[in-house]
Structure formats: C-alpha cells, structure tokens
Amino acid sequence: MNLALHLLRQVANAIGLLLAVLVLNFCLIHAAPGDPAMVIAGEMGGASADVMAALRVKYGLDKSLIEQLITYIGKVATGDFGYSYYFNEPVLGLIVQRIPATLYLVLSALAISVLIGTLLGVISARKPNGLFSQSVTVLSLAGYAAPVFWTGLMLLLLFGSVWPILPVTGMTDVARPTTGFAHLLDVLQHLVLPATTLALVYIAQYSRLARVNMIDALTADYVRTARAKGLPEIIVIGKHALRNTLIPIVTVAGLQFGHLFAGAVLVETVFSWPGMGRLVFDSILRRDYPTLLAVLFFSAVLVMAANILTDLVYRLVDPRIRSGAR
C-alpha cells in the first residue's frame, strides 16, 4: 500500500478520535460533582452567594451543558483553548511551558526501560534457566508490580535521605540558577530519580519480551546459518538475532507512550516535577476545566503521534509489512 496514502488515513482517523476524546473528557469532567466556583469559594474560605453566581456567569457555567460543549469545540477549532480558571492565563501558554518537562521525563523513562529491559532480556535468553535470568525475572516483576508512587517514595528516601546524593524536588536548583552546560547537568541530576522510577515499571515488560523473542530467534534457522558461517557470537546476536527481537519491542514501546503519560502523573506528583502530569492532577482537583481538557487533548495528540510514528518505524523495520505480505 502506498505509504503516503496510509499515513493520510492514519491522520484522518486520529482527528476523528481527537474529537471523540474532547467530547468524552468534557462530559466526564462536567459530570464530577462541584464546580470551579465551589473550589474558588473553598480557597477563599467561603464566599457570598452573589460572588459564586458571578463566577459561574463569568465562566459560562450558567448555560446548558450542550451549549457549553458547542461553544468549547467551536473555540478549539480556531485554536482557542480558553483561559485557566485557576491561573487566569491562556491555557496554551501554561501547557507550552509544561510539555518539555513531561517529554524529558517520559522519553528518558522510555529510553531507560527499553535499553535496560532489552539488554537484560537478551542476556537472560542465552541461559534461560540460569541464576541471572531468574533474578532478572523476579526483580523486574517486583518493579512492575509495585505501585509507581511507592517505588518513587522509596527511591526518594534512599537517594534523598539515607544516601543523599540526588535532589528530590523540582527540575532545577532554584536557589542557584545556572545556564548552559551547568544547567543541563542540573536538570539531568533532577531527572535521574523520576525517570528511573517511571522506567522501573516498564523494564519487566521489555526484558520478558526481549527474552522470549531472543530465545525464539536463537533457535531459528538463520541464526544457525550465521553460526555455521563462523561469525563471532556478538555479531550473531547483535546483528541477526536482535533484529527480530526488536520488532515487538518497538511496537510495545510506541503503544506504551500513553501508559507512560498516566504514570507520569504520579511520578511528577511525588517528585514535584513541573510537567503536564501534575497539571492534570491539580486541574482535576481545582475543576479547572479549560486547563484539564487542553492537557488531555495535547496528551492524546502526543500519544497518537507516537502511535503513527511506531507504525512507520515498524514498517521500516519489518519488510513483510511494507510489502503488504502477511
């Protein structure tokens, strides 16, 4: 099938899906009890009935839900995501400020888990019943099973308190702002714990996936041929066997992008990481509808983009798909 046409179809599907995401999220958040006026009154330590009524009028909450939804979608279509009820700033600006932090976190976690998971899986596959393989299985499953915020808190205590070598809150050292390379180092230092926390959850999946596929690959004919040719083991594994092992890993990595976003909400909260995850969490509690809807919308855009990209990479890696063979 023509790649461009395929891509076009993917994008069209994504747009339809995004519209559904918008409507669904809109209905969900409005179904939650209480509203922004209630939250604002709460923060104020109480407010008069007039103040609350005025707030509802100001935010258009006095209109019917259908009216609000139509108005909202109409505005989004023109790229207007509205003002945050909480910060009184355009939502887009808030999100643009937060996207990088979340991407740093999610992409680092993805890279760490794919690399370490694959490496562990590949090494385990060589002696599937050996001690190393068994230990990897047990440890990575523990990482997978433990709640992410608990893992985060444990790492926080371990490396922040017991063995205080890493910062545990925020993205930079706010007391001593830095620039250039020093700034990069500062951010990296702050990134280690949150990214590791998020990665620990996923290492198990990649190591198991890599192990199973590697075991299959190592018994395949083409590997036997490669060995018979007298190629060194590192080439046999690294070039021939690994390639087929990587195909499912690429697929899963792409699909997991969305999961990672969900995990990021908790990790960002534990480590006060200034990303979109924290903004989602806080916006729900604040009933800050415009901010919440926009963050979820852009998260959906990123996840869909990741899926389309995965599909593309998959086609490049696996020639059978490209040729349309099944």
């Binding site: 939650a32 209480g34 009154a41 923060e43 400020q97 690399l115 545990v168 990296l188 729900i284 509690l285």
Partner: protein
C-alpha cells in the same frame, strides 16, 4: 535494507551510550545542597510550599498560597507581634475616634513602591475600597463608608458604626497597600495583569515566577525600614509532595517549610538535628478542626442527640492518642491562643452513661440489636490524620452508645463541598480558620443571616439562635475591649451548649526552619507577614 538497519542499530548504540554517559555523569556530579553566605551577604532562603498561588495580589484573593508572597511584596498599615499587639508599619501611628466612627492613619514619609513612586494616602484609600469591594472576606471592611485623604500622609477611614475588627483587618495578610497608579486603569482588578507582576512597597520584589515551579523574591533596596530586609533573596519552591519537601530540607536544598500539620511529619522533623520546629505563627489564622452537625435534619435537630455525641466522642483520646498530643485541644468557636478564647465552656468530657441517658431522653431507645440510629459522617479528603482518621474513630466510638456511623468518602474537595453546602449530610469533619478577629472568620459559621445554600463555609450547619445573632452583632460594634470580650464569652458558652459543632483541636500547624536562621517569624501571622527580620546568623555549611 541491511545498511539502513546497521545505521539504525548504530544510532541506537550511540544513543544508549549517550544516555548511559549522561546518567553516570548526573550521578557522579553531586552539588552540595547548601551554599555558604558571608557576613556581608544576606544570603538566600529557599522555602518549599505545597501552596500554588493563583496570583500575588492579596487584596482580591484570600488564603495562605497568596498571603505568603503578597505579604513580602506589599506593605500594610499595621503589623502584629506575638501577643496580638498592633505595631506601626506603613502607618507610623493611628488613632481611633472616641465615638469609634473613624480611624486616622499617619503614614511614614519614606515609603516607596518598587517602581520608585512614593506611597501616599491616595494609595491607602484606593486599596481599602478595592479590598472592601473585591476581597472574599466581606465582613472585614463592610462598615467602611469611605476613606478621606486630607493630605498625602493622612488617611481617615470613616465607618458606618464602630468596627474594632478593623485593626486586625489592617494586617499584612489582609490589607496589602496597592499602587493606585498601577491598578486604577479601569481593568478588572481580579484578573489584572499586575497581579502576576506585582508592584508593592514591601521588603521584597517579585523578580521571577515560573508557573507551578517556583517564584523568586529579591531584596527591595529602597524598603522604608532602614537595614531591612536582611536576606538578599527568598525563593519559594512549589512542591506537590510534603514528604519530598522534608527530604529536601534534610538535604539542605530547602531551608524552610511552612504549613506542616501532619503529626508524624512533625515528629520526624523534630528529631532532625539541623532543624528548628516552631508552633508559633498561626495564632492569627486560628485553624479549628471540628465535627459539624446538620442541625436541621432529624435526629440531629434535637440538641440532646448532639450533646450525646459530644459526650461520647472523647476529644482527649483523639488529640492525645490519634494525633500524638501534638495539637492543642479546641473547645469553643474561638481558636485556642486568641485572647478572646473562653475557657469556661462545657468541655464534654467523655461520659458514656450521660450520653446514653440523653439519647434515651430524646426518644432514641436501643433496638434489640443494640443500635439506636444510623447516621453518615463525611470528611474533607486529603488530610487523613485530621479528618479521615477522626471520622473512622468516631464510627467505632459512637457504636458504644448505639449510634451506627457510616463513613462516606469523597474523591476530592469539590465533591465534599458540593454535599456539605447543599446540606446533603448528617455529620461532617471540617476545618475552618478564625482569621484573627471573630468578625472576619468566626461569625460566618453561626449567623442566621449567613445560611446560604450552595456556599461552602457559610453557616452550613443551618444553626440559628437569635440570641447568638444579637451577641455577635453587639460584639462586632463594641469598642470597649472588656465588654467585647464578655460578649464573646457569652456567645461561646451558648454555642458550645447548643452543639451545632463539636470542637476537636487546633490544626497543629508548624513552621520548620534550618538551624542557623535568626529572626524567625513567630508573630500571630507567622510566614504570612513580612520576613524582613529573618537572616542567616550561622550561614549554612557547604
């Protein structure tokens, strides 16, 4: 085909190496958490707070998140010491007229805003009228009719009737003096752009705000009090998790934590060697943790049932055991620590026999299964220790007198607020602040005129007692401090015997600082007042 693949695997390898290298680098470069400050250098203070401000203008926004920065950025007519005494601030002196109908402020002549323009009586008049119109605490300045400005340094506040609460209302947290020349431009003050780029006359200027991450306050060189502030810079780091904030304090990345109230956290912080924990600084806030009754709903409309619950609840156990003895007990509508707190009220000491007797008298006799009634109890989500644990404990405690309590959890604050403000509850745990003077933060809970459906922290108990309304009105206008105290004492005795609310404890708020700091904010407003006397006596070690 294979060439593209080898390229790909190559780039995979390099990215792996790059990643491993960065991680190794990050783990190996460990910057010490604190920096040295020389005597000549005022140094930096890093505060970690979970309170994210909507903006920095305390004239139109109440609450602790805005008060902390707002009181650094803006000065106010008065400030207060530890013993509730008003002290000069922007006003070097003030007089209350003998008839109580006006208060005259004499301003200092050397105060300037951060943009260099002088602070005049015009700014004071503008700010007072702005606060009256926009601040959520409507009762605070309600009697103010106008502010006269006979000259640049004199402001006369004219009142409809005497209003003793005005003096506390002139505190930094409640009356920031705004620059008229910035705000008086016809824009809506609640969403004015200057709220995020504020210009005040306080000890610190806001120099940077990174949304949701941190804000930086730097020393204002032309602050009108000579030799102050002593610090060069205050950075407030916005954190989402108090455990992480504590670890940061332990590491020395952070030097102060305000609003810590979890008793386990407090106990842990008290054991840290480099940390000072103080309970001073919240008398003005006066936060009371309490159990509220829906007094209009059967069977709780019968005062005997409410009293029976009070006699069974066992405040001593809740505070002493559940909360490790850290909080002060609260026994009346006015918070412990306020000079108006009346100790001579009914204490409702644990008395199960009396409780049972009251329930029998009210006609709620025991059924064969030993129960008398089933009620629900709500609580504010998010504070397990002060709220949920008490609700859970009361469930087992009240079973002893035949009351089955069902604990209803709410997923978040708005859900709880929706239920309570619409009277969809029997009992609920709640926490409400006094805000200094009863007129500001106490009256709202008890006045019949403040029963507003759908408004949280109005009189959601729907408690109505004409005598109480009368006493509160009289006390609000009483200029003799002795008579005023007597009126509030009577009010407290009546409310406590009517039990629309069973008072449990003052929220055990603590401020926590790194050792080596001097001039800690121990006044009644604590961290919600200017930190201009705070400095590093012993600079932190590197």
């Amino acid at each position: 085909m294979s060439s593209t693949w080898s390229l790909r695997s190559q780039s995979l390898k390099t990215s792996f190496l790059r990643c491993a290298f960065s991680l190794a680098l990050a783990a190996s470069v460990v910057v010490p958490g604190v920096r040295a400050a020389s005597a000549a250098d005022g140094g930096t203070l890093v505060i970690a707070s979970t309170q994210v401000p909507r903006h920095f203008n305390g004239a139109v926004q109440s609450g602790v998140a805005t008060a902390l920065p707002s009181t650094q950025i803006f000065a106010s007519p008065l400030r207060y010491d530890e013993n509730w005494n008003p002290k000069p601030y922007l006003a070097k002196s003030w007089e209350v007229a003998p008839d109580g109908l006006s208060v005259t402020l004499h301003l200092v002549d050397n105060a300037v805003f951060h943009d260099g323009k002088p602070v005049t009586s015009e700014d004071v008049a503008f700010s007072i009228m702005t606060i009256k119109k926009n601040h959520p605490f409507q009762s605070m300045l309600a009697p103010v009719e106008k502010v006269d400005t006979p000259d640049k340094l004199t402001a006369i506040i004219r009142l409809k009737h005497p209003h003793p609460a005005l003096l506390l209302a002139m505190s930094p947290a409640l009356m920031p003096i705004l620059p008229k020349h910035v705000y008086d431009d016809g824009q809506d003050i609640k969403s004015h752009p200057a709220n995020l780029k504020p210009v005040g006359s306080g000890p610190y200027r806001l120099t940077e705000y990174k949304q949701g991450e941190f804000y930086t306050l730097e020393k204002f060189d032309k602050f009108f009090i000579p030799g102050r502030p002593k610090l060069d810079k205050i950075v407030v780091k916005l954190v989402s998790d108090s455990k992480a904030a504590m670890v940061s304090l332990e590491r020395g990345d952070v030097n102060a934590l305000p609003f810590i109230s979890n008793v386990r956290d407090i106990a842990r912080l008290e054991k840290m060697p480099n940390v000072v924990v103080t309970d001073k600084g919240y008398a003005g806030v006066g936060p009371i943790n309490w159990l509220a009754f829906n007094t209009k709903k059967k069977p709780l409309d019968d005062v005997r049932v409410r009293q029976a619950i009070a006699y069974a609840a066992n405040r001593e156990f809740i505070v002493g055991k559940l909360m490790g003895g850290k909080p002060k007990v609260a026994t009346s509508p006015i918070a412990p620590g306020s000079p108006l707190d009346e100790p001579g009220v009914e204490m409702y000491k644990l008395d199960l026999a009396k409780s049972q007797k009251l329930l029998d008298e009210a006609g709620y006799t025991k059924k064969p299964d030993g129960s008398r009634m089933t009620l629900t109890i709500d609580y504010i989500p998010g504070d397990e220790e002060q709220q949920r644990n008490v609700a859970e404990y009361l469930r087992s405690q009240l079973k002893q007198v035949g009351i089955n309590l069902e604990v209803r959890a709410a997923p978040d604050f708005p859900t709880w607020a929706q239920r309570i403000s619409n009277y969809d509850f029997d009992l609920t745990m709640d926490v409400v602040f006094n805000w200094g003077d009863p007129v500001i933060g106490v009256n709202r809970t008890y006045l019949t005129s403040n029963i507003h459906k759908g408004v949280i922290w109005s009189n959601t108990q729907q408690y109505s007692n004409p005598k109480v309304d009368e006493l509160l009105k009289a006390a609000a206008e009483e200029t003799s401090p002795e008579k005023r105290k007597a009126l509030y004492s009577e009010f407290q005795k009546i409310v406590v015997s009517d039990v629309p609310i069973y008072y449990v404890n003052a929220t055990p708020y603590r401020n926590v600082f790194s050792k080596g700091l001097s001039g800690l904010p121990t006044t009644i407003w604590g961290m919600m007042s200017p930190l201009d006397e705070l400095y590093w006596e012993t600079p932190p070690k590197t």
